[in-house]
Symmetry: C2
Subunit: 498 residues, 2 copies
Amino acid sequence: MALSWLSLIILLISSTSPVCAQKFDFPRLSLHCEKVFQDPERRVQVSVINDFKTFFFNQTLDHFNYRPESYTTFKQRYLINSKYWGGANSSAPIFIYFGGEEPIDDDLKVIGFLTENAAQFKALLIYIEHRYYGKSIPLGKSFEEALKDPNARGYFSSSQALADYAAIIRHVKEKLKAKDCPVIVVGCSYAGMLASWFRLKYPHLAFGALASSAPILYFDGITPEDGYFSVVTKDFKEASETCYQTIRDSWAEIDRVASEPDGLSRLSKIFKTCRALESGDELKSYLIEEYAGAAQYDEPPTYPVEVMCRGIDGANASENGILVKIFAGVVAISGNSSCYIVPPSGTTPSQGQLGWKWQRCSEMIMGVGITNNSMFQPDPFNISNFIDRCNRSYGVMPRPHWITTYYGGHDTEQVLRRFGSNIIFSNGLRDPYSSGGILKNISDTIVAFPTQKGSHCLDILSALQDDPSWLVRQRKKEIEIIKGWITKYYADLLALRQ
Amino acid sequence: MALSWLSLIILLISSTSPVCAQKFDFPRLSLHCEKVFQDPERRVQVSVINDFKTFFFNQTLDHFNYRPESYTTFKQRYLINSKYWGGANSSAPIFIYFGGEEPIDDDLKVIGFLTENAAQFKALLIYIEHRYYGKSIPLGKSFEEALKDPNARGYFSSSQALADYAAIIRHVKEKLKAKDCPVIVVGCSYAGMLASWFRLKYPHLAFGALASSAPILYFDGITPEDGYFSVVTKDFKEASETCYQTIRDSWAEIDRVASEPDGLSRLSKIFKTCRALESGDELKSYLIEEYAGAAQYDEPPTYPVEVMCRGIDGANASENGILVKIFAGVVAISGNSSCYIVPPSGTTPSQGQLGWKWQRCSEMIMGVGITNNSMFQPDPFNISNFIDRCNRSYGVMPRPHWITTYYGGHDTEQVLRRFGSNIIFSNGLRDPYSSGGILKNISDTIVAFPTQKGSHCLDILSALQDDPSWLVRQRKKEIEIIKGWITKYYADLLALRQ
């Protein structure tokens, strides 16, 4: 179990270094399912998954243009669970889960929020896969082919994805004659952004949105670049001052050893790497990912940050003191293995990793850097370098201002105070991405749920028996708010019909 | 002067019959500037026009995709009048006029609302030309070349146009360091729809919208197909019952004469056509346009519907009674001319006519038909025929559901009751397009201004000395509402800064 997380982290390093990234990267914005899987209890019951029926929608390739190629269609996958639905006649609600940057199968296994609450709402459940992932790849191509083709990957954008969701929602509501059934959209991480943007852009198709861990302000300089790694640092410092200090000191020590003759070989030995390290940076990159991942998913019952710090603080280290401690942290979180850190040869990056890389280089330009105020060595975000690297990789220029031009972000409080309604922004404050989230209520109906001890997307994961009471309360409160929206919706419907 | 209107109507007939249209067409959705020009008082003073400075923005061809061609840029024209502006330091407002389906020059001459009210707001004025019109044509092509090229015209869409406006607003606000200056967007007819949609889609870039004569509900079957011609009929019936009856009877009479040997020659003679009529339909098509145009622009001080009816009712007709009366109506509205109805040879359709034809065939599918309840012969809207004709003309399929998928329209009252704010929908009820407009207040801040005697876009045209008092009041009320929005905006700004 624990091994799978390590493998993932290793994968991440291998895939994130060359393209469109800082010198060091950080966990991609995602549900990071492989991590969540480490706790088998976290999975949605197979019997529940079996309640979903798979459909494919004839989706338009390009919603916004009328070029001959725009009319091309592709099969987009969505799944419906009608077990709990009260039906169109009673205008029972429809909950729609938006897929993010991975095949929808992955989400299906861990998103418990919808299936666990459908019964009390008598809600229909629909999960829609994001274009270009899983079985929803346009132009008759494989994922890899689509990503390699400059024309084909050009249609891989968030605005097209939202329009896809709109077309499917419309189609399903028509097919089920469910015109008056209120739709609530749910998403987490990147798809959480999509959910909140969908409510803002398509209010006629979604009456409300639950946007879990959606860092919609991590664009165009709104959030300080060091937001992410400040939170990582804070999480570790809060867990253990000595652990934090050890990590802080470790970078210079790695540099020192790496620069010695035979130093890389010594590091490879200390960290039991699966193959010889090529540089000190390779090791540092791995470790940064590891700390960031632990912070992002610092969730009950295991709390990975504490696990790592217990490993680091508890290590019996005399010679190579700091490095042995750091390695003990890696082992603590990764479990026993024959080797660590560098990926086994032949491992290929996941769709999520490759797809997100393109998305980050084209439009999702989140300027995350490391400044002085952290337990890391500074590695500032340099937009010119970023653009250069993306341009070299894909031959197109990133559009760093597009997200805020199309969706907004600057002065959000001022803008949304008198516009829009029915959005919940939930953020776990241990999740470094919360630094780019909405953490304060904006209006009576655009509300924030920051949870002190929460992690990335935690509220919409399957509930566990021993979930802490604050988490149980949070989920209950979110449900109450959604119920309130729906009550008002029905009242309006009745009033307008009279 | 009067001749120019006649020429236009003739132009319209010649250009609307073959493509993407009913058997008979109706005035394109536009400001119909040539008509407005008939009253020279209607023009904005040349000195005021000279206050505008012309700029060109490097606009992105395709905002929504990341294909290599998407990054192509073109020069988009916009004009700024800073004579009245209070400046960025005092956060003085910015009024933005959205160009519609014609070169922006045309609008500049007749839209008085912004220039006449800028001083009291200390507002900056910006007029932006719509892509593909005037001097804002992409891909280095002429208007005609762009319209003929299936790839080039494929980027000619409303969503791209809105994104263009967004990019320019952002650019100008940055250039002028005018971040905190509230933006109010204004448009009429098609551009009125754009203005209201812009407020809904880009609330972070426009704090309010004045949408004059915007038939946003004339899509996807929301408004009954006969809405438009029912209003035309009502206008004539209210002006004169006998006039209405004469028009109603005239169609069978035209058919009867046209079917006789030498009948077309007789009709050509009675109507003094500039060349021999080729069919009775040619004549009927002209007349339908004429009545529709008179109703759409039934504005003070002339009130064209009454002018036509006075001509029809007052004709001294014995032989060919009905037809002579009808011709008298044509002469009354068109003035004396050597010939009427068919266009002089060599006349080419305007950009507005050609561009709108493409827009109607691709996405702006407004189902306008004629049913029994009118003074016209039935000519129902047949979506299959419409699609076939567009497909034959342009080789692409219209997307009749896209406008309501992207912008909404169904159940607007239910949708906007708890979403959005700061939109004025003004409609003159004599304007047949008002049948597809928002005529009832939706919320405290999404309000309707239906005026019993108003015509198409009347409120935002230059004020005239002898404007009726209801019109003066209407404009004043609209200004007061916009002032109210801006007052709240400043209050919020202050509160959020504290």
